[in-house]
């Protein structure tokens, strides 16, 4: 079984490794790099727990071969914290609005919500629900996840206006 040399940027750091091309990106992140924020829920592209940001797109890392991500820029929930290591506004809002219970879906939710707010900084509730429809949660009933994302959008927009 021949391995290939893979190189990518993960949470701002260059990483290099030998891996079989068939290795799934989620396994590469968790088992080779010990980045365990992205979770494996269903392993069948349904739940979104494995969501990472790949070259500016939200993708389910259980359905990407490491070979496809060779040369890519990957961000996981670990990479979304502020530079000083404190929680980002979005992460903080999940905490404040009880956007999680068991927390299993949370890294995927936050990583997806991050990209959603990059593309649409001022979403309606309906747009949040539609934009988050690839992520499943067994605990919260979604209400507080939606609240947390809307609150983060409001706070980020207020900060942006204040900075102008």
């Amino acid at each position: 079984m021949s391995k290939m040399h893979v190189k990518m940027t993960v949470n701002g750091k260059e990483v290099e490794a030998l891996a079989e091309p068939r290795m799934l990106l989620i396994h590469f992140l968790r088992e080779e790099l010990n980045i365990t924020g992205p979770h494996i829920g269903c392993e069948t592209t349904h739940c979104g727990a494995c969501t990472v940001d790949l070259d500016g797109k939200s993708v389910k890392a259980c359905t990407v071969f490491v070979a496809q991500a060779n040369g890519a820029n990957v961000t996981t929930v670990e990479g979304l914290v502020n530079d000083d290591g404190s929680l980002s506004v979005l992460q903080e809002m999940f905490r404040e609005h009880h956007g999680l219970q068991c927390g299993f879906c949370t890294p995927g939710m936050i990583t997806r919500a991050h990209r959603l707010l990059q593309e649409n900084p001022n979403p309606s509730e309906e747009e949040v629900r539609f934009g988050m429809s690839g992520n499943l949660c067994r605990c919260t009933g979604y209400q507080n996840i939606v609240k947390a994302i809307l609150a983060a959008a409001a706070e980020l927009n207020a900060a942006r206006e204040a900075a102008q």
Binding site: E43, C62, F65, A67, G134
Partner: protein
């Protein structure tokens, strides 16, 4: 869920990719977004020994729109289709349908080329392309040819594409001015494949219908299109109902799907007529 072993290739031109396909023949498959192929490989239903990743083939990207024709590269993603405002004004039914496919993460990577080439009766784009009477441009070592979407699908996962051919672009004539459109899809939950879906374009003297997941291939019928163009809605619906052959599965019994097909088709026609002028 670990797929079988394969050798990975990442060509940067169509010629190079076609050369690899010719060289490895049956043992090779092209990889686009991977969101149909990788799940099948994880289940070991597909076991290609060579995967030819098309992500670096620039010729397969981009959408070009002229006054009468739209050409969409095979590697354009569903997300890019939705984001493209010029495309949405030229052929609005594409955005309406793409928004009903899968979920946001799948749409970021799933491509139109993979969706139409796959041959899965559950895919939404093949029926849409039959409704639009689109053609597929394909390239192989022997050169290029065009295949009509209406003649492309032979059975579940069987298409007119040869083993050594790559689908490069999808070409659509701009729908006639004054026509209305609707893509109506019934599914069990968001992100699901269709229990039944209907694509409709209608206007003065214009009628086109195609149905999804109600047989081994998408379904269109010349009789239904002629009837719809003449304004005979009942005739069009009856012709479609005679052409579909849904199977009972976990989305419901065949009888239910037949009933549903009639309901969503009438809904789509009504909505499309409301948009025609």
């Amino acid at each position: 869920m670990i797929p079988g072993v394969f050798e990975y290739h990442r060509p940067s031109t169509i010629t190079e990719a076609a050369g690899l396909l010719t060289r490895f023949g049956d043992d090779a498959r092209v990889l686009a977004g991977g969101h149909s192929l990788i799940p099948m490989m994880k289940l070991r239903v597909a076991n290609p020994e060579h995967l030819i990743d098309l992500q670096d083939v620039g010729e397969l990207k981009g959408v070009s729109i002229t006054s009468d024709e739209i050409s969409i590269g095979a590697m354009v993603t569903q997300h890019e289709l939705i984001q493209n405002d010029a495309l949405a004004s030229a052929v609005p039914i594409i955005r309406e349908a793409a928004l009903q496919i899968a979920d946001p993460q799948v749409r970021y990577v799933g491509t139109i080329g993979g969706n139409v080439a796959n041959g899965d009766p559950g895919n939404d784009m093949p029926g849409l392309m039959q409704c639009l009477d689109a053609s597929y441009e394909v390239a192989g070592d022997k050169g290029t040819r065009r295949i009509a979407a209406r003649e492309f699908y032979e059975g579940a996962f069987f298409t007119a594409l040869a083993d050594d051919e790559i689908l490069t672009r999808i070409v659509i004539a701009k729908p006639q001015a004054g026509s209305g459109y609707a893509y109506e899809k019934q599914k069990r939950k968001i992100g699901d494949y269709a229990t039944a879906a209907a694509a409709v374009i209608v206007g003065p003297g214009i009628g086109s219908i195609a149905m999804t997941n109600l047989g081994d291939t998408p379904i269109w019928s010349a009789g239904a299109n002629d009837a719809l163009a003449k304004g005979d809605v009942d005739g069009a619906v009856n012709a479609v109902m005679a052409a579909i052959s849904p199977a009972s599965d976990n989305r419901g019994p065949a009888e239910f799907k037949k009933h549903l097909a009639g309901v969503i088709l009438r809904r789509a026609i009504e909505r499309a007529q409301g948009r025609a002028n």
